[in-house]
C-alpha cells in the first residue's frame, strides 16, 4: 500500500486548522461533488427524460392503438346474442374447449359460456385464465360467476411483464454506472488525482464515488416510482401497477446491492486507463457483467432450473430472485440467502476493487494490467 492510505494517526498536527477532513467527511464531499456534477449535466437529464418518456409511451400507446375493446370468446349463438350491444369484441366459438384454447393462447381475455348451474342471475358464466377480467365484467352489468382455468397466483403474462420491467431497470442502471468509470478517467486524465490522493485517502475517493452514484440511481428509481403510477393511470392500466408493486419490495434492495457491486467494478475499469479514448477497452468486462444478467434472465425465464441458479449468482440474482419471489417460486429464506451471497460478494469485490483502484490510479500511460495494479498497491 502506498503511504497515502495508511491508517490515520491520532496525532494532531501542531498548526491550527478547521479540524481536517475525516474519512467520512472526505467521502461525503466526493459523493456530493459527483451528485452535483451529474445533476448539472445535460446527459443525465436527457437519459432520465428518455426513460420517463419511454415509460409513458409503453403505458399509453397500447391503449391508443389497441382499440381499447377487450376481446371475449362467446360459446354458442345464444351467448353471442346476449353480448350484443356491449363494448366487447366478441368471437363466437362452437364449444367450451375451443374457448379455453383461445384463452390459453391469450387470444381473448375471457370466455363467456351459458350457465348450467343456475347460479348466475344473467344466465352466463365467465371463464378466464388466471385473474377475473375486470374490464370484461364491467361490460356485463350484473357480475356473473367467474371460473379460472389456471388458478396460479401469478399469470404467465404478469411474470413476463415483471421480468421485462426488472431486467430493463437493471440494465439501465447497471450501464449508468459507466459514469463512474468516466468520472475516474477524467480525474486521471486531468491529473486532479494527484491533488486528491495527496489530500484524502484513496478509499474515501472510491467510496465517495460509489455512494454518490448509488444515491443518483436511487433518486432515479424514486422518480420512476412516482412517474409509473401516473403513466399507468393515464394509460388506463392501473391493473399492471397492482401486479408490479408487491414485487418491488424485493427488487429495490437487490437492485441497489447489484448496482454497488457493479459500481466498484466500473471504478476499477476507469482507473486502469488514462484517457477517455481508452475507456472502451477496460469497460468491456464490466459491460458483459451488466448486460449478462439482462439477457440471461430474458432468455431463460421459462427454465426453472436456470432461473434457480441465476437467482443465486451475484450479478443475475438482482433480477432473477425478485422475479422468483414475485411468481412465488421461492421462499423468503431463499431470497435472504441470495441477498446474503450478493452482499458477501459485494464486500469482497469492493475490497479487491479498492486495492486495484489505489494501485492503478496514479499510473499513467497505456492501460494498466490488473496484475500490475495489484502489486503496485503494496
Amino acid at each position: 500500500m502506498t503511504a497515502t492510505i495508511e491508517p490515520r494517526s491520532a496525532e494532531v498536527d501542531d498548526t491550527d486548522a478547521d479540524g481536517g477532513t475525516s474519512f467520512m467527511a472526505a467521502t461525503r464531499l466526493v459523493a456530493e461533488r459527483e451528485v452535483k456534477t451529474f445533476l448539472r449535466s445535460k446527459g443525465f437529464w436527457i437519459g432520465l427524460g428518455v426513460i420517463v418518456a419511454g415509460l409513458f409511451a409503453a403505458a399509453i400507446l397500447p391503449s391508443v392503438f389497441g382499440g381499447g375493446q377487450p376481446s371475449v370468446a362467446a360459446v354458442g349463438p345464444e351467448v353471442t346474442r346476449a353480448l350484443a350491444g356491449s363494448e366487447l369484441e366478441v368471437r363466437e366459438v362452437a364449444d367450451r374447449a375451443a374457448a379455453e384454447e383461445l384463452l390459453r393462447e391469450e387470444e381473448v381475455e375471457a370466455a363467456v359460456v351459458a350457465d348450467t348451474t343456475g347460479q348466475s342471475p344473467t344466465g352466463v358464466r365467465v371463464l378466464a385464465l388466471s385473474d377475473p377480467p375486470t374490464d370484461v365484467m364491467a361490460q356485463l352489468g350484473t357480475s356473473p360467476p367467474v371460473d379460472l382455468l389456471d388458478a396460479a397466483d401469478v399469470s404467465q403474462g404478469e411474470r413476463q411483464l415483471v421480468i421485462m420491467v426488472f431486467s430493463l431497470m437493471f440494465l439501465i442502471f447497471a450501464m449508468g454506472g459507466a459514469a463512474i468509470a468516466q468520472s475516474t478517467v477524467t480525474e486521471k486524465q486531468t491529473r486532479i488525482v494527484e491533488i486528491l490522493v495527496s489530500t484524502v485517502p484513496v478509499r474515501a475517493l472510491l467510496t465517495g464515488k460509489i455512494v454518490g452514484h448509488t444515491l443518483l440511481t436511487l433518486g432515479q428509481v424514486v422518480v420512476l416510482a412516482v412517474a409509473a403510477p401516473i403513466a399507468l393511470s393515464v394509460g388506463g392500466q392501473t391493473e399492471l401497477l397492482r401486479v408490479i408493486a408487491p414485487a418491488l419490495g424485493w427488487f429495490v434492495p437487490f437492485l441497489v446491492l447489484g448496482f454497488v457491486l457493479l459500481a466498484a467494478m466500473w471504478a476499477v475499469a476507469g482507473s486502469l486507463v488514462s484517457r477517455q479514448e481508452d475507456l472502451g477497452s477496460s469497460m468491456s468486462l464490466v459491460m458483459i457483467l451488466a448486460l449478462g444478467p439482462y439477457f440471461a434472465v430474458m432468455f431463460f425465464s421459462d427454465n426453472a432450473t436456470v432461473m434457480n441458479v441465476l437467482s443465486y449468482v451475484p450479478f443475475s440474482s438482482a433480477i432473477a430472485m425478485p422475479v422468483r419471489m414475485f411468481s412465488q417460486e421461492a421462499e423468503p429464506w431463499e431470497a435472504l440467502l441470495s441477498m446474503g451471497l450478493l452482499a458477501g460478494s459485494l464486500a469482497l469485490i469492493v475490497l479487491l476493487a479498492s486495492r486495484l483502484y489505489a494501485g492503478s490510479l496514479l499510473q499513467t500511460g497505456g492501460k494498466v494490467a490488473l496484475s500490475k495494479a495489484w502489486t503496485a498497491a503494496d
Binding site: 496525532e11 478547521d18 448539472r40 449535466s41 486532479i192 490522493v197 484524502v200
Partner: protein, 300 residues
C-alpha cells in the same frame, strides 16, 4: 520546516532518486532546480505521499509526514488539471473543504484568492471556458485555498505570461512572508534567480548543492571583478595573481587566480584597484555576480 532525509526511489532498474536530503525553511522561497528527468517531480510526489519513497524520511517540524498532516499542505502538480466542467469558484471552494475548511471559510478564502489572482469575474464560468493562463491561475488558487502550512509547486510559472507571473509571484511571496515554507521547481533559471531565497539543485537524482542563494554564489561563483578605467586597461595582464577574462579598451573583466589574498595579506582585488588608481581615474570597479546559470553549471 520540512526536512527531506536520504530518500531514494527507483522505477524498475532505474534509480530516479539517490539519497536525496534537503530542508525547506519557513518563510523562504526555495527554488528546486534541475534538468528534465533530474528527479524534481518524483521528489515532490514523495513529499506529498502520491508516491512512496524506498528508504528515507520526510518530516515536518521533526514529525513524520502522515495523511492528516499532508492535508494541510498545498500542492500544484506539474501536469495541470482541475475538473473541466465545474465552476471555478465552486471548484476551488470544494478543494478547500476537501482540505478540511468549513464551508464558510472555504467560500471566504476562495473569494479573496480569486480577487488577488484577478479571476473574480470568472468565478461562475466552467474551468474549461478559461484560457490556459487563467486555468493556471485557478490551479494556483486550488493549491492555496486552505491556507496551507507548506506549499509545493511543480513548475508554477510555466505557461504564464509575464503579468500572470507577477500576479502569482506576489501571492506566493505573501504566503512566504507569513512564514510558510515554499518549495517550487523550475527550469527557468532567470526566473528562479529573481524569486528564491534558498536553492536546491538536483542532478541525476542526487542533490548537487543546496543552501541560501548568496551562500551558493560564494561557494560556486568564480571571483570576478569588472574594472573600468579612462585609458586602455591592457596593463592588467601584467598584474600577478589574476587572470584577465576579457579586455575591451578601458573595460576589463578579471578573476582572481586564488581565492585568498596575496602573501603580504593584502587582498588581490584591492591591489588591482590600487594599481589602477596609480595609473589614472577609475570609473568603475564592481564584483561580477555569478548568474544562477553559472552556479547551476558549476554545481552539477
Amino acid at each position: 520546516m520540512l526536512t527531506v532525509t536520504t530518500i531514494s526511489r527507483s522505477f524498475g532498474d532505474h534509480r530516479v532518486l539517490d539519497d536525496v536530503s534537503f530542508d525547506v525553511r519557513p518563510g523562504r522561497m526555495t527554488g528546486f532546480l534541475g534538468a528534465n528527468g533530474a528527479g524534481k517531480t518524483t521528489t515532490m510526489r514523495i513529499i506529498l505521499g502520491v508516491l512512496a519513497a524506498q528508504g528515507g524520511t520526510v518530516t515536518w517540524h521533526g514529525k513524520p509526514v502522515t495523511q492528516p498532516l499532508r492535508q494541510r499542505f498545498g500542492y500544484m502538480p506539474e501536469e495541470r488539471g482541475l475538473y473541466p466542467k465545474m465552476k471555478v469558484g465552486e471548484q476551488i471552494a470544494w478543494f478547500g473543504r476537501l482540505h478540511g475548511l468549513s464551508q464558510a471559510k472555504a467560500k471566504r478564502n476562495t473569494e479573496r484568492l480569486l480577487e488577488q489572482l484577478d479571476l473574480a469575474q470568472r468565478a461562475n464560468d466552467n474551468l474549461e471556458e478559461l484560457s490556459l493562463g487563467n486555468q493556471q491561475r485557478a490551479q494556483v488558487a486550488a493549491a492555496l485555498v486552505h491556507d496551507p502550512a507548506l506549499l509545493i509547486l511543480d513548475e508554477p510559472f510555466s505557461g504564464l505570461d509575464p503579468i500572470a507571473v507577477d500576479t502569482v509571484l506576489r501571492v506566493l511571496r505573501e504566503r512566504a512572508a507569513d512564514g510558510v515554507p515554499v518549495l517550487f521547481s523550475s527550469h527557468q533559471l532567470a526566473l528562479v534567480e529573481r524569486l528564491c531565497d534558498d536553492l536546491v539543485i538536483i542532478s541525476g537524482g542526487r542533490i548537487a548543492a543546496s543552501g541560501g542563494r548568496e551562500e551558493l554564489r560564494e561557494r560556486y561563483g568564480s571571483k570576478r571583478w569588472e574594472l573600468v578605467v579612462d585609458s586602455d586597461a591592457g596593463w592588467l595582464r601584467d598584474i600577478p595573481g589574476i587572470r584577465v577574462v576579457s579586455l575591451d579598451g578601458p573595460k576589463a573583466v578579471f578573476e582572481l587566480a586564488e581565492h585568498t589574498g596575496s602573501a603580504d595579506g593584502e587582498r588581490t582585488d584591492q591591489r588591482v584597484l590600487r594599481a589602477a588608481l596609480e595609473r589614472g581615474e577609475v570609473r568603475g570597479f564592481t564584483p561580477v555576480v555569478p548568474s544562477l546559470d553559472e552556479i547551476f553549471k558549476e554545481a552539477i
